[in-house]
Amino acid sequence: MAKRKVVLTFPPERVTQPIAYHLVKDFDLIINILRAEIYEEETGRMVLDLEGDAEKIEQGIAYLKSQDAKVQEAARDIFLDEDRCVDCGACTGVCLPGALSLNKETWKLEFKKEKCVFCELCVRSCPVQAIQVKF
C-alpha cells in the first residue's frame, strides 16, 4: 500500500464532477478528503490523501489530470520561514492535528508535515507571517 497527499485544483466547469467517487470505484483507492473548497472565481480546490496500490494511485492521478485537474504534491506547498519565525508558539494553539509544536527542551518550533491537514489556521495565526501555504 502506498500513500500520497495531493492538492487538486479544478477549473469552474469541473467543480460539479463526482471525482472522489471515481477514485474509489474505478481505482480502488482509499481517499480521505482533508479539505475542499470552492473559491469566489468558482475554482475548486481539494486536499486529499490517496491510499492504495502504488500503480493504481498513478492511474488515479492520470484520471484526475484527464479531468483538467491540476495535481500537486501537498507537502511541497507549505513554507515555514525559519529566519522569520521567532518560536513564539502562537501557531501551535490553532494546530489541532499537532503538526506544529514546540520542542519541550529547546522551545523551538517543529513542523511535522505528515500531520498537516491544510486547514491554514496557522497561516493567519502567525504574528510574524512566517508560514505560507501556496497552492
Binding site: 513564539c88 502562537a90 494553539g93 490553532v94 522551545w107
Partner: protein, 388 residues
C-alpha cells in the same frame, strides 16, 4: 550577608562576577540551598520576548533646505505623530499603513529601519517665515537619522492572564486566535525567566536600571502605563495577573531585528515583539528566594476573551508549569495551550546578557528611584460634563 551594586560592579569589571540565568538558578538553589547561592552568585539574568503594542520610536530626521515644519508625516504610508518640533516624530508600533492596512504598521517601519532598509518619508507642513517649505518626499535610512530611539510607554508586564474563548465563534485577539467553546488557551509570559516575576517587589529593578533592549543597551525610564502593583499576590509575593509594567528607552541604532520584530495579528492589527533582558543583583538571600522561583510557583488567571467587556470573567488559576505542559483542565475539559511569548528567544536573551556581564561589558545600574508599590489602575468612565 549583604552585597551592594558597587561591590558587584567591581567584580564584573574584574571579570570575576558569577552570573547565571533565572532558569539556571532554580536548580542551583535546589542543589546548594539559598545561603550558599547568595554567597556564590552575583547576578541573575532575566528576559522576555513578547508582543507589546505600547512600543514606538522617537525620530529626528534633520532639516531639509529650505526647511519644513512637518505637521503630518507618513513613513512607508504609516502616519507618525508630528505634533512636536519641526522634524521630530513619534511612530507607534500599532499605527496602521494607510495603503496596506492590518498587514503593515509602525512596527514594520521600525523593523525596516533597524534592518537598514530605506523608508519613504512623506511630510506636509504649513509654510511660515521660519519654515518656508510646504511638503517633501524622500527616503531615509537609520544611519542618516540624527536620533532614533525606542521609547516604550509599557513593556515587561509582571504576569498576564491566560486567554480562552467561551463564545460560539473563533475570535482574533492580541492573544492570538482563540477557538470557540474553550478549544484552546493562550498565554503570554516568560514565567520563571520574566524580569518582574523574579523581583516581585521591585527591590532591584527601578527607574534608571540598565537593561538589554532589542539587542542593544537600554534603560528603564519610568513606571509603565497601567502599572498595577497592588494586584492580588500569592504567598510568594507573585501577582496572579497583569501587575507592574515598565517604560523602556534605548538607542534604536544599536538594536537588531533578531530581538525586535514586527508582528501583525490576524484581524487585530500590528504590534511588536520586543526583546528585554534585565539583570538582577543578588544583594542578599531574599533575592535568591525571589529569583529561584520556578514555573510551578507562578500562577496566572484564566480570562474569558469571549466576553467582549472590560472586566472579563476569571475562570480560575493555573501555573505556568501547567500551561507549558501543553494542556490544562478547564471545567473538566482538556484544553490545549500555546504561548504567544517566545521562550526560546527569552532564553537566548538571558544567555546573551549573562555573557555581556561575565565578560565585563555590561555594568549594573542601581535604580535612582523605586517603582511605585501602591499605584492602582483607574478605568475610563463615560460621563457627561455635569457628571464629572
Amino acid at each position: 550577608m549583604v552585597k551592594t551594586f558597587e561591590e558587584i560592579n567591581e567584580r564584573i569589571k574584574k571579570g570575576e562576577a558569577v552570573v547565571v540565568t533565572a532558569e539556571e538558578i532554580i536548580d542551583l538553589v535546589k542543589e546548594k540551598g539559598i545561603k550558599r547561592v547568595a554567597q556564590e552568585v552575583d547576578v541573575v539574568t532575566t528576559a522576555t520576548f513578547s508582543p507589546m503594542c505600547s512600543t514606538g520610536a522617537v525620530i529626528n530626521f534633520g532639516h531639509s533646505d529650505p526647511p519644513i515644519k512637518m505637521s503630518k508625516v507618513w513613513l512607508n504610508d504609516v502616519p507618525a505623530y508630528a505634533g512636536l518640533a519641526a522634524v521630530d516624530v513619534y511612530i507607534g508600533a500599532s499605527e496602521l499603513s494607510e495603503t496596506l492596512g492590518l498587514r503593515y504598521g509602525g512596527a514594520h517601519v521600525i523593523e525596516d529601519l533597524i534592518a537598514g532598509r530605506p523608508v519613504k518619508l512623506k511630510a506636509i507642513g504649513y509654510p511660515t517665515d521660519c519654515y518656508p517649505r510646504g511638503e517633501l518626499e524622500t527616503y531615509i535610512t537609520k544611519d542618516r537619522l540624527n536620533q532614533a530611539y525606542l521609547f516604550n510607554p509599557r513593556n515587561s508586564y509582571q504576569n498576564y492572564p491566560a486567554a480562552v474563548n467561551s463564545s460560539e465563534r473563533t475570535i482574533y485577539t492580541y492573544m492570538g486566535t482563540l477557538l470557540p467553546r474553550f478549544a484552546n488557551a493562550t498565554y503570554c509570559s516568560a514565567g520563571q525567566l520574566s524580569p518582574l516575576l523574579n523581583d516581585p517587589y521591585y527591590r532591584t529593578i527601578g527607574i534608571g536600571s540598565r537593561i538589554f533592549l532589542g539587542g542593544g543597551v537600554g534603560y528603564i525610564a519610568w513606571e509603565g502605563t497601567q502599572h498595577n502593583p497592588t494586584r492580588e499576590r500569592t504567598e510568594k509575593g507573585l501577582p496572579v495577573s497583569g501587575a507592574a509594567t515598565l517604560a523602556l528607552i534605548g538607542d534604536l541604532k544599536g538594536m537588531s531585528t533578531d530581538f525586535l520584530r514586527a508582528a501583525s495579528f490576524h484581524r487585530y492589527g500590528t504590534t511588536m515583539f520586543v526583546g528585554v533582558g534585565v539583570p538582577i543583583p543578588i544583594l542578599d538571600e531574599k533575592m535568591v528566594e525571589f529569583t529561584g522561583v520556578s514555573d510551578a510557583d507562578i500562577y496566572t488567571t484564566i480570562s474569558d476573551y469571549g466576553v467582549p467587556l472590560r472586566d472579563k470573567p476569571a475562570l480560575g488559576r493555573v501555573t505556568y508549569k501547567e500551561l507549558r505542559s501543553g494542556e490544562i483542565t478547564l471545567r473538566g475539559k482538556r484544553v490545549p495551550t500555546a504561548p504567544i511569548s517566545s521562550y526560546a528567544k527569552a532564553r537566548e536573551i538571558a544567555a546573551l546578557l549573562k555573557s555581556w556581564i561575565s565578560e565585563g561589558k555590561f555594568l549594573l545600574q542601581e535604580p535612582i528611584e523605586s517603582l511605585s508599590q501602591d499605584r492602582t489602575v483607574e478605568s475610563l468612565e463615560i460621563l457627561r460634563e455635569e457628571e464629572v
